[in-house]
């Protein structure tokens, strides 16, 4: 039993605490990240809908009109609202974490994390304004 350098001493009666099925409800931070991981499903679903929409454009006016009518149905509008809220939660909780994945240096100084996170939020805002302009210019 105690053959390896890092194995517990032979004869110990160790207690192995069980992991609760509800571990993700035990800490607020665990719950938040599990919810964020689940919102990824909506991010993926949104991407799939966009790809299908592009395919419908390629199929011609009639298939696109049918697809657009489906997008306008009450059920799909409900899905879109839920998906939008999920994607919003995902972005709002993810962007503040981005600075830990990116180390930028200007000269010898590391760029502060709030500038990197702020740049992501600014980029998001600019893209949103451009998309809103394209959609709403009539």
């Amino acid at each position: 039993m105690s053959g390896g350098a890092h194995e517990p001493a032979a004869g110990l009666k160790l207690y192995h605490p069980p992991m609760s099925l509800w571990w993700w409800l035990e800490r607020r931070a665990y719950f938040k990240i599990v919810v964020r991981e689940l919102t990824s499903l909506f991010v993926g679903a949104f991407a799939v809908v966009t790809l299908l929409q592009i395919r419908a454009v390629g199929d011609g006016p009639e298939p696109y009109a049918a697809f657009a009518a489906m997008l306008g149905s009450p059920a799909f509008i409900t899905f879109s609202v839920v998906a939008f809220l999920a994607v919003l939660f995902h972005a709002l909780t993810w962007f503040p974490l981005v600075p830990t994945t990116i180390v930028l240096r200007v000269g010898e100084q590391r760029v502060p994390g709030n500038i990197i996170a702020g740049a992501h939020f600014a980029g998001w805002l600019i893209v949103s304004v451009v998309v809103a302009y394209i959609l709403l210019r009539g």
Binding site: G4, A5, H6, E7, P8, L12, K13, L14, Y15, H16, P17, M19, W23, W24, E26, R27, A29, Y30, I33, E37, L97, T100, T101, I102, V103, E108
Partner: protein, 241 residues
Amino acid sequence: MAETLRLEVSRYRPEEDSEPTLQSYDVLLDALNHVKNEIDGSLTFRWSCRMGVCGSCGMMANGEPKLTCAVPLTDYDPAQPIRIEPLQFFPVVRDLVIDMSSFLEKLSNVKPWIIRDDVEATEAVEFKQTPAELDAYKQFSMCINCMLCYSACPVIGLEPEFSGPAAIALAQRYNLDSRDKGKEERMDVLDAHEGLWGCTYFGECTKVCPKNVDPAGAIQLYKMASATDYLKSLLLPWGSK
């Protein structure tokens, strides 16, 4: 009358218990050592330096991983009991003592030492570093192996084979050291599901670290390095190394 507070301490006596039970002690404000010295000498726990350096006294205090020597009792409401339990996600040897053998194995697997093949380990040689080169890894070198980060990470509980925050942060510490040449050897160990990619970025390891090491940040940077290496090998197969 001296002010007292109540501790609820997890007891596990392997010769008589099948699982831990809670035992209460009303104590003066010297807590566990007071229990050990004055009330119940059978209570077992680890401690050594009492100054946040040795990393021996990590325990769960009211469900949070804490280096208990670094947490003043005045942080807690004296009207409420403080629940003291062994670090979670580790097997328990006795009372508040956990079995750290899995951690030690994970630690040695990532080769947390300077690797070079151009000098013998016993040779008296000096490798100079600039302050900037020291700064590159200094933060990650502050780890005291207290294992609080393992106890904060649910992935350790769900996937016991996961290398874990401290081991990966220490691997990164040596990768970023200008004297080291072992980055590829460590990547061979860590570029796996039970290595870097087991981390789902809960980020709790960084929050509980008493030395501000930021293991979550180290892991994400390591993932970026691994992904960049992969892309380079894909796009520039002749010059990826």
